[in-house]
Subunit: 266 residues, 2 copies
DNA sequence: TATTATAATTTCACATTATGAAATAACATC
DNA sequence: GATGTTATTTCATAATGTGAAATTATAATA
């Protein structure tokens, strides 16, 4: 399709005639919750761009409000236009639109927060969240990225994705987030096998202490795990004896969404 | 600062060496709640780009997941990466961080939904929303754009911005959203004068029937209206007799945030 | 207050990269 | 099977994006 050099495939993909745009996007992607503010020099260094080039691209992004600057320090942050674009992206996301009613029902049934998440590299992205009876964190998490190996949704998505992708993720070291986070690749492999068998995944204090979640996969028309939904809450409420019941609810909701996406089992 | 041609200033600003990036952003900005899906031809026509150019830029955006395609029709939509970037932009927004505690208190005090909004062209962008006692719409609105002339926040921001900007907005026809929407420039000018006097704005069914909101301006260190906060709810609860009390709360909260931004009156 | 170091802008010559007309391929629709 | 419509690909051309170097602004130190 495009004359892409072999070597480039593993680095950043590169399509002819799109260097500047690809670089501008790389700049945007450098911003994260962990590092939301960058100085020009640092950002240029981090992205491997020439300082002048980074400056020029950032100026273009700033003019369109995709980035803004700290008026005192001159440091760069993501701008309000991205909040607006993110809102449009979210509200027009077909997966989210289809899933929402089921997610609302699931949150009511379980009384806990229900979420919809998709795979993005080594993270899951929270596409939607519906609070349960006991509103705790609110929808603070929509648009957040969470590590695959420490979330129920991540493990489910991994379990039902290609072996190639699984191994790619297991190749990188698994960061511990709590003392219960699974960081042994072999242990995770065993767990993924069990998830494939049983059709759902559980995390108990692996992402943050005292937080329990149960997830099941959403399968699309092409028989791919397009997303995962979960129910999560404090371990005090989501006790061991309640888990089977919750798991059944989540699985049923996931199947319902899958069916709406055109998936037909068998 | 840059050799920008006079004529270009009123069209799309154009900085040398950033054409491709500016064009890619123009493509992204074409997507909206009203038209979230575009066919290549239509999008190229709407943005005034050559079809090939639009295709190439969109391919770059697609490779980075800023846009995605409808697998059946091939039509373009905004992609999940924008949801992630929007999330980072939102959570790292200084205005939002500073305002949140006050907004939470305001929602508790009033029992109604409280919002934080900023001006973006002819719209206000919802940066944050905290539900009141009676949760209705949930935080569906964060990242949404609403017309300036039909919102309390919009009117407040207009009232406290430059005359130049006000006149620019009044020059364009004001779309009616309900039968109560103010569409007469002269009427709006009088209202803005009253808002400057009293320090707060009200909308009663001008955005949607039965919805009432009260807003006050947040002033920053440079004595500019950087944002507006509001309290809103159904007209059945936000009755005429409650409004003065609500307005006082909103104004006090706005002053508190302004002070935290470094604004010192007098 | 001078001196030095560091980071942010601007300039500019150069060629790599983006451009768009035209051709081709892939779909729908009749 | 023909016809119109939309999506890709090709490719010659030069306009656009590039980055080294110079300049300016800002902070840190003596």
């Amino acid at each position: 399709m495009f004359p892409v050099k072999e070597a480039d495939l593993h680095a950043t993909e590169f399509y002819p005639g799109t260097q500047a745009v690809a670089r501008a996007i790389a700049l945007l992607k450098a911003f994260s919750d962990a590092q939301p503010e960058w100085t020009l020099n640092d950002l240029a260094r981090a992205t491997g761009l020439n300082k002048t080039t980074a400056f020029r691209l950032l100026s273009a992004l700033e003019a369109e409000h995709l980035v803004m600057r700290n008026p005192l320090s001159g440091a760069y942050r993501l701008g309000v236009e991205l909040i607006a674009l993110g809102g449009v992206a979210m509200r027009s996301n077909p997966l989210r639109t289809v899933s929402r009613p089921t997610l609302v029902t699931l949150a009511e049934q379980s009384g806990e927060a229900a979420t919809l998440e998709v795979l993005m590299d080594a993270h899951v992205l929270v596409l939607d969240e519906v609070a349960g009876d006991n509103p705790m964190g609110m929808t603070q998490d929509v648009g957040s990225r969470l590590p695959v190996h420490a979330t129920a949704t991540g493990k489910v998505l991994l379990a039902f994705s290609s072996e190639e992708q699984t191994e790619k993720l297991l190749a990188a070291p698994l960061q511990p987030l709590t003392e219960r986070t699974v960081t042994e690749p072999e242990q995770l492999r065993r767990e993924l096998a069990r998830i494939r068998q049983e059709g759902f995944a559980v995390t108990q204090g692996e992402l943050e202490p005292g937080f329990v979640a149960v997830a099941a996969p959403v399968i699309d028309r092409e028989r791919q795990a397009a997303a995962a939904i979960s129910v999560g809450g404090p371990s005090l409420r989501l006790t061991a004896e309640r888990l089977p019941q919750i798991a059944a609810m989540v699985q049923m909701a996931a199947r319902q969404i899958s069916r709406q996406l055109g998936y037909w089992p068998g």
